[in-house]
Symmetry: C2
Subunit: 376 residues, 2 copies
């Protein structure tokens, strides 16, 4: 484990765990949900508001930041924390996933990925070494290995070939990262929905040795059932004493199911992206504020919620500002959604600490069935 | 003067005045700048942030609100203050100006204006009586007479004919408003750039009797020089003991010049609209954050400013989020601009109170000439 970086397990309940990741920039309570601040901002939120929802850590996207404003520019300005006014921990992804989903003219080789920017068509190359360099320039607290994964479904041979290259890239990432006290490097398990490949990948990563381990290559089209079936075994292949991070997940019920299966960290654009399209997540389910049924409704989104959107505004107001494309609609609904996600994480942490996770999960599912859900 | 509504002049300096408008919802320090909350929100701002900039009062637009979500709906939800979470005074315009600039298929008669909504083409009619009814439904603290004005330049006969109809509408507005304790009705002087017509209009309004008087029909294309030449005499036609409101003004130097000439209240979309297009107003002049010269600049917009954008972010960051169309760019720059405007108003109030307005104005103009201005 890197100097100045630690993980303490405080409680377990079945496969679920609660604990604390300690970093020089502050503690991260786990299970943790990381809001996504793609291009140096959690969209429509001031960073102090993100913190007020209870977030201990943000995620930044290497792909977006390397293209604009560039990692070198951010380094020259004192690093990503100072640039975006967030002094707590930041995890950066490696850029691998976004390159494959957003860039054009991609050429994937053993060396890395050559591509054209989706912003201006400029040509770039990402390799394990360059990804480590960029994440260092950004000043990331938790650095992710550069990896690659196929969209699912994919045949086993494709998944195996890709996974084995990602494991070679994991070694190159480890070598390039070196020893950076206070900064952690996480490996990323691949292997799709194939148990043997997942186990092979986990062993390869553990042989290299990382400060934490991600379960990658899920939430890429396989569906919740397939994802949970992988999570029924994959976390068990990873070291007990290191944090486990499920990348790009998810909806509230995905998060609950992942935590039940031993995941410690997650990230997703869903709560912020939904907030910009008029969708609110609540314990009762998703509420679509565009729906005309809200236009005269004086009730808050969720009377039990303490976020600014629920404390001070009616559903009628939220409906109005969403329909009128007013920026405050994005601001209020993003705040609400991030608040709800962090409340859910706190509930999960408390339940695990109390050994009462199954009751918490039963209540979570019961409330979602109790109504007030809009067709989306 | 309406019961529960008052105006106290505290100091004068030349033609300039400082004072307090008292209302049941709180005091308004004058000279006052009113941020515009067109459709139930000051765009890109939380209302508590608007208040934090120092705003004592907001302006709401009757035209926008009557079309969406409708005045009847807002009344059913407890009025505009509760709807938009702003418990301090609100001034609403009459809808007359926006109807003429935004709607389509307009037909102007002695009765009022028939028009089609710019949102959905639906047909509506605004008359003095309907405007009073809508502003009452909204719960406006300061209600404006329904009026009409031609774009300038216009010939005297056109301006005179329009002005006289507006004076008949002012009487109808007064009759329809009735007696509403705690709510004020302001008349609107018209007459273009013609001194005799301005005087005739002022007398007509004073004969009817209002709680305050607006100078209307300026900032409609005549230019600052022509506007100031009207303001050199027009405020003097109005009662000394009532607030004087210059509608739709303006840039910082417009505001300073208007205050020098005896104006007590102003409103303008400029600081908020500019904030959404990457433009910042500072004591040194306007700064265009889109300009590439900012991309590596670690300095704040204005080192002396205490707003969140200046306290916690570099020009390089603001450049980045403006170029990347991130919502936080609009949030930070709108906040900065409204903060700067309110600081300017506080400076004007303090200077008038100290009998030092001319020194303040000289310093204002000197700093604007001192550099750091982007070509816009």
């Amino acid at each position: 484990m890197a100097t100045g970086f630690g993980f303490t397990l405080n409680a377990t309940d079945g496969a679920a765990r609660s604990g604390v990741i300690s970093t020089p920039r502050g503690d991260i309570r786990t299970p943790a949900f990381m809001p996504v601040g793609t291009a140096g901002t959690v969209k429509a939120m001031m960073p102090e508001s993100v913190r007020a929802t209870g977030a201990d850590i943000l995620l930044g996207n290497t792909y977006h930041l390397m293209l604009r404003p560039t990692a070198e520019r951010i380094a020259g300005l004192g690093g990503l924390h100072r640039f975006m006014n967030w002094d707590r921990p930041i995890l950066t992804d490696s850029g691998g996933f976004q390159v494959m989903s957003l860039s054009s003219l991609r050429k994937l080789t053993e060396e890395g990925v050559r591509f054209s920017s989706h912003i201006d068509g400029s040509k770039h190359m990402l390799t394990p070494e360059r990804s480590m360099e960029i994440q260092k320039l950004l000043g990331s607290d938790i650095v992710m290995c550069f990896d690659e994964c196929p969209a699912l479904p994919a045949d086993d041979a494709t998944v195996a070939k890709s996974m084995r290259m990602s494991m070679r890239w994991a070694q190159r990432s480890r070598d390039a990262f070196g020893d950076r006290p206070g900064h952690a490097l996480f490996g990323i398990m691949q292997g799709g929905v194939n148990r043997d490949l997942r186990e092979e990948s986990a062993k390869a990563l553990e042989d290299i040795g990382f400060d934490g381990y991600a379960v990658g290559g899920l939430a890429v089209g396989e569906g919740q059932e397939a994802m949970f079936s992988v999570l029924d075994y994959a976390p068990g292949f990873l070291p007990q004493d290191k944090p486990r991070y499920l990348m790009g997940v998810g909806k509230p019920d995905d998060i609950v199911g992942a935590v039940e299966r031993g995941i410690d960290m997650m990230d997703c654009v869903l709560p912020s992206r939904s907030g910009r399209t008029g969708q609110a997540w609540t314990p009762m389910g998703a509420i679509n504020l565009k729906n005309a049924r809200h236009k005269d409704d004086p009730r808050p989104l969720d009377a039990a919620c303490t976020c600014p959107a629920c404390r001070s505004y009616s559903r009628a107001y939220l409906h109005h500002v969403v329909k009128a494309d007013e920026i405050i609609g994005s601001m209020l609904l993003t705040w609400h959604n991030l608040h709800y996600y962090q409340q859910l994480m706190q509930g999960l942490r408390d339940a695990i600490g109390a050994g009462a996770l199954s009751a918490f999960v039963a209540e979570f599912h019961a409330r979602r069935g109790a109504g007030d859900i809009d067709p989306l």
